[in-house]
């Protein structure tokens, strides 16, 4: 061994019931590096990190810190040994101030009396070292997501962490916020701290990390230096085969399939969520709507589907005014809808795959006749769809809730596309879906377009929007802040529009 490792996990094995979550995993992390841990959902990354953080006990294997063996029984042990974790879902109480959240469970003095001035002294050295700036007196629930994440990082530093685990840190950030996070990470490593970065976004992994360990199905596929690989090779290692990528046919735009005219929609809180928005989607075109979540995209999609009332404005599908039409009649006009939350809105979880697949075609022959279900035909159609969409399941009678996220989403997509819709609204079509299935779902959407249908994609994932769309609209606070053709689009331009700044209006102080 030429150099000592800061942290070593040796031959970690962990079994949950039947599945082997970690199978002899070895991870070696050098001091002061950004070590990315990548892999698809269910590859075992989270289990490994939970073992390191003391939330899960391994069946076998060793953890070495600076070459010395370490026993970790609870998060307290790992914190005491300088290991900190920033969870994907923030561990912050919204009504507490930032300062209170930082000292939670770790008072700055021995006394039980809370003295904010003591924390401020400690924070000054942190600020000097890392230039981390957090508003200590603000109530945490009022911060932006990016700031909350910074509070989380400061929290681990305050507790003395020198090895910091970041679990999918960019999943909730805008591109600009992610850039700021990367600046922070570099400051940490410059100061000698070590960062373990969990992600499945290859582009950012290539940007930030020094070393990359790839996991698949509970095992380590390989550990590589960033210089030696490119994103494609990493993807191949992650999914175990080559990515095909999405190829699209050159076709001409057809007639307008969806027209939204000066639409105003109220949100749940009675405040305008969509404010005077107009858009058109043509046949043979994919239009993507980008934007930070919560800027009216959900309400817009619900208004188009017809489950949310429009305050004013009009919605036309296939040239017909459907503003006040029922959901059923919109579906008859050729509308397909991939809901953003497959668990809550897209599927009946304790129904079988077959029952979910025929939900939309149940009234038509050959699935039913004279109001009586023809189960044999339904099963036959379901088996074909399971095969066509490569849904991993033990037959069509299996309950949907036992499927993985990716396979659940495939059931939704299969059902919606089987009706040969003229217009599909796809909301976050690949959220929480692993790369292989994402690629498949995206290729199905492109295929639909190539066949001359219209697709509206709403997604918080900018890469997805840019990969799929012929045209990109950006939404901010319920308004359209920009529209770009796919050739004009880049992350910086879209990112600015996501904050309501349009090219011409950008003012630098």
């Amino acid at each position: 061994m030429e150099e000592a490792f800061r942290l070593e996990l040796q031959n970690i094995t962990k079994r949950f019931d039947k599945t082997l979550a970690n199978d002899g995993v070895t991870l070696r992390v050098k001091r002061g590096e950004v070590h990315a841990l990548i892999g698809e959902n269910g590859a075992g990354k989270s289990t490994l990190m939970n073992i390191l953080y003391g939330l899960v006990k391994p069946d076998s294997g060793k953890i070495l810190l600076d070459g010395k063996p370490l026993t970790i029984n609870s998060p307290k042990d790992s914190i005491a040994n300088g290991i900190g974790m920033v969870h994907q879902h923030f561990m912050l109480a919204p009504s507490l101030t930032v300062a209170e959240n930082i000292v939670l469970g770790h008072p700055p003095t021995r006394s039980n009396i809370w003295k904010p001035s003591k924390l401020k002294e400690k924070m000054k050295t942190l600020e000097a070292d890392f230039n981390f700036d957090v508003p200590l007196n603000a109530v945490t629930g009022g911060l932006t997501v990016g700031l909350m994440q910074r509070v989380e990082i400061v929290k681990t530093l305050y507790r003395g962490a020198e090895i910091i685990i970041l679990d999918e840190p960019t999943a909730v950030l805008t591109p600009q916020e992610a850039e700021e996070l990367f600046v922070s990470i570099r400051k940490l490593t410059q100061a000698g701290h070590t960062v373990i970065f969990i992600s499945h976004k290859l582009k950012e992994v290539m940007e930030i990390s020094d070393t990359i360990t790839v996991m698949r199905a509970g095992r380590v596929v390989g550990t590589v230096n960033k210089e030696d690989v490119d994103a494609e090779q990493l993807a191949q290692m992650m999914i175990g085969r080559e990515l095909k990528g999405v190829t699209r046919a050159e076709i001409d735009k057809g007639e307008v399939a969806l027209k939204v005219d000066d639409l105003n929609v109220l949100g749940d809180d009675g405040i305008g969520a969509v404010n005077g928005l107009s858009l058109e989607v043509h046949l043979g075109e994919i239009v993507g709507i980008a934007g930070v979540e919560g800027n009216g995209q959900t309400e817009l999609s619900e208004a188009i589907l017809g489950v949310r009332k429009c305050k004013s404005g009009k919605v036309f599908i296939d040239g017909k005014d459907v503003t006040t039409a029922s959901v059923g009649s919109r579906i008859e006009h050729g509308l397909g809808f991939i809901a953003q939350d497959r668990v809550k809105e897209g599927l009946a979880l304790d129904f079988s795959i077959r029952d979910n697949l025929v939900l939309k075609s149940r009234k038509k022959e050959p699935i039913s006749k004279n109001g009586i279900m023809r189960w044999r035909n339904a099963s036959k159609m379901s088996r074909k769809m399971i095969e066509d969409y490569a849904i991993k399941a033990n037959g069509e009678e299996e309950k949907v809730q036992s499927l993985s996220g990716g396979n659940m989403q495939k059931v939704v997509v299969a059902r919606e596309l089987s009706q040969s819709p003229k217009l599909v609204i796809a909301c976050q079509p690949t959220r929480g879906v692993d790369i292989g299935a994402s690629e498949y779902i995206r290729s199905m959407l492109v295929k639909l377009r190539d066949q001359g249908n219209a697709v509206l994609v709403i997604s918080a994932d900018l890469d997805e929007i840019m990969e799929l769309s012929d045209r990109i609209l950006v939404m901010f606070e319920g308004r359209k802040t920009g529209e770009l053709s796919s050739s004009q689009a880049n992350e910086q331009r879209i990112g600015k529009m996501m904050f309501g700044q349009n090219e011409g209006e950008v003012t630098e102080p």
């Binding site: 609870s74 998060p75 307290k76 914190i79 969870h87 879902h89 923030f90 561990m91 912050l92 109480a93 919204p94 009504s95 507490l96 209170e100 959240n101 000292v103 939670l104 469970g105 770790h106 008072p107 039980n112 009396i113 809370w114 700036d133 508003p135 007196n137 603000a138 109530v139 945490t140 629930g141 009022g142 911060l143 932006t144 700031l147 809180d269």
Partner: protein, 313 residues
């Protein structure tokens, strides 16, 4: 006028004490509307303790103890037995009415209420100098000890929640138990202790009801005050001072209602006022207006702090 304010303070006290107990349940993240039952237990056991020992401190101790025990049973049902909190609350409330009525009949042999000679009320306290101040003296002086205790408790709880680490931990336990647990805080222990203390405070509220102004126990004598207390927790946003103000409003309503009846307003109609307020509070609670308002306020504050920093830089 002084009479009304003095009465307000007196009638607000049992609601305030129970509400401070309810505040602890709320802050620990244990949903409860069982304060009514806990109060009723406290009211009866206070009278019973007095009957057995003829001692005021023992009567208060009886009430505190029964409240603490019921609080412990309640948190055990919720946290260990995974009971539904609403059902468990209804259970405690119904059980309290049944068991106190039964015990009253079997111990005192009286069907309606007890008020025997051996039962003395809580003594009224005469504060030497304040009593002489013209208007204020009349309002503040001459109440039972529990009136003053409840106000001191407001101060203590405020300090505890916002200026001690245990208090900060408790607030985190109630709001984000996972966040508290990941910081190494024993969530369950916090909940158990909060519920025991909260239950004891409800018991204290009960004894003020049965031995404070009157000296008797009557069947179901809490008459919904436990629910007023929960309402005060909601309106006061589980902040001790806010809860105190809300309780005083209830006290005022009760006192004014009593007066209004005397001067000829239709009694039954006026009596419904506190209950209507309670229902309104529950509706407001369930549509989350407070949450939205808070989030808006927090965002404003965060932005203000950011702006100040930018200007300073």
């Amino acid at each position: 006028m002084a009479d009304i304010l003095s009465g307000t303070l007196r009638t607000a006290t049992p609601i305030l004490l129970a509400a401070l107990g309810g505040l602890l349940f709320e802050k620990a993240g244990v949903f409860s509307i069982a304060h009514e039952g806990m109060m009723l237990f406290g009211a009866f056991f206070g009278v019973w303790g007095m009957h057995l020992t003829h001692s005021v401190p023992m009567a208060i101790l009886f009430a505190l103890a029964i409240g603490a025990i019921v609080g412990l049973i309640y948190v055990w049902l919720i946290e260990k037995m995974n009971a539904n909190a609403t059902i468990a609350s209804i259970g405690v409330n119904a059980f309290a009415v049944g068991i106190t009525t039964y015990m009253m009949k079997s111990i005192f042999g009286d069907a309606g209420s007890v008020g025997t000679a051996g039962i003395i009320g809580l003594p009224k306290i005469d504060i030497p100098f304040i009593g002489n101040i013209p208007f204020i003296g009349k309002v503040i002086n001459g109440h039972t000890i529990l009136v003053y205790v409840s106000i001191v408790l407001v101060v203590i709880l405020s300090y505890f929640l916002f200026h001690t680490h245990t208090g900060i931990n408790l607030r985190a336990v109630g709001e984000r138990p996972q966040a508290a647990a990941s910081a190494g805080i024993p969530v369950l222990r916090y909940r158990i202790i909060a519920c025991i203390v909260g239950g004891a405070l409800c018991g204290l509220a009960g004894v003020h009801l049965s031995l404070g102004h009157v000296t008797l126990f009557a069947e179901n004598m809490t008459a919904g005050r436990g629910f007023f207390a929960y309402t005060a927790v909601v309106f006061g946003q589980a902040n001790p001072v806010g809860v105190m103000i809300a309780s005083l409003v209830f006290g005022l309503a009760e006192t004014v209602t009593y007066r209004a009846q005397q001067i000829g307003f239709p009694g039954p109609l006026v009596l419904t006022v506190p209950y209507i307020i309670t229902i309104l509070a529950l509706i407001i609670r369930s549509c989350g207006i407070f949450d939205k308002f808070n989030r808006y306020r927090w965002r404003r504050k965060a932005q203000r702090l950011q702006n100040k920093k930018l200007k300073g830089a």
